[in-house]
Symmetry: C2
Subunit: 141 residues, 2 copies
DNA sequence: TTGTAATAGTTGCTTGTGCAAACAATTATA
DNA sequence: TATAATTGTTTGCACAAGCAACTATTACAA
């Protein structure tokens, strides 16, 4: 049975976990009409109004093109607005965006509760480990 | 700085890790002309010739529709063939598919080496933890 | 001061995966 | 037997994210 070997492979297990937990997150953040990543982007802007796209990308560890599109869709929803400042584009939350803040945090909180109760043990210990692992893997070889 | 909180969120960290390690895996398996998931599917069939699509899905923890498409593309490459047996479809490796076996395992081995040297410490310990976490999260609430 | 390099963002395209509904084959029920 | 329920696979569609190539702006060097 190959599965014995598959589960020792970080590629395999990290992707599986990612799929499962993404679905949980989609369900929770649907309560505020956002995809998980959009919700994280909103939180980032709400925490630092007028942040640049580049900084957002660095916070979320996502490529610039992905940020462009996420912002585009959040502007379309009337939750963000942007202002061109030279070559950079600064992002602001609209009033409607700010109104959503507490609901986003609620969803996020519910999500963490939901998986923490299921994992009971090390809760965010695991998460920190993954963060560390990512940092090490990202170093250019 | 919100990032402090983001990295305690398993959704956030699991997805980041998944993106990073998927890219590593893509690079390695490109050596045998496969995407990582196709490579895993090939290994699954090579280990049990004539396996059904459903079983493959269970091994890889992927949805039936995804399996259908992966097989479709591997058939197009002449690496797999399928035979309808009642309502199930049984999957076989072709000669060309079997010839690839050792190269796939080589790529897989290189991948694991590459990330294990970068993580030095717990290597597949972490992977097993992720597997366990996935199992717990998957239980219907 | 002009020409080159670096930086920030955008656009077109591709890929992997899922969901929901459809379909086909098989088994169970009445 | 005929109809219903179940099971396995397929199809159409959607979405998140990346890459590579491009544009626009700023910085630097000769």
């Amino acid at each position: 049975m190959l599965e014995i070997y598959f589960k020792e492979c970080l590629y395999f297990t990290a992707n599986r976990l990612s799929r499962i937990i993404s679905k949980m997150a989609e369900n929770e953040f649907a309560a505020c009409g956002l995809t998980p990543t959009s919700a994280f982007l909103m939180m980032t802007v709400l925490e630092k109004d007028g942040i640049s796209q580049k900084e957002i990308g660095q916070s979320l560890h996502l490529q610039p093109s992905t940020i462009t599109r996420l912002i585009e869709s959040l502007e379309a929803k009337g939750l963000l607005s942007s202002r061109q400042e030279g070559r950079k584009s600064l992002i602001f939350a609209t009033d409607r965006g700010r109104e959503l803040e507490s609901r986003i945090h609620d969803s996020w909180h519910r999500l963490r509760q939901r998986y923490n109760t299921r994992l009971d043990s090390q809760d965010d210990e695991l998460s920190l480990q993954l963060y560390e692992a990512s940092n090490r893997l990202e170093q250019t070889e």
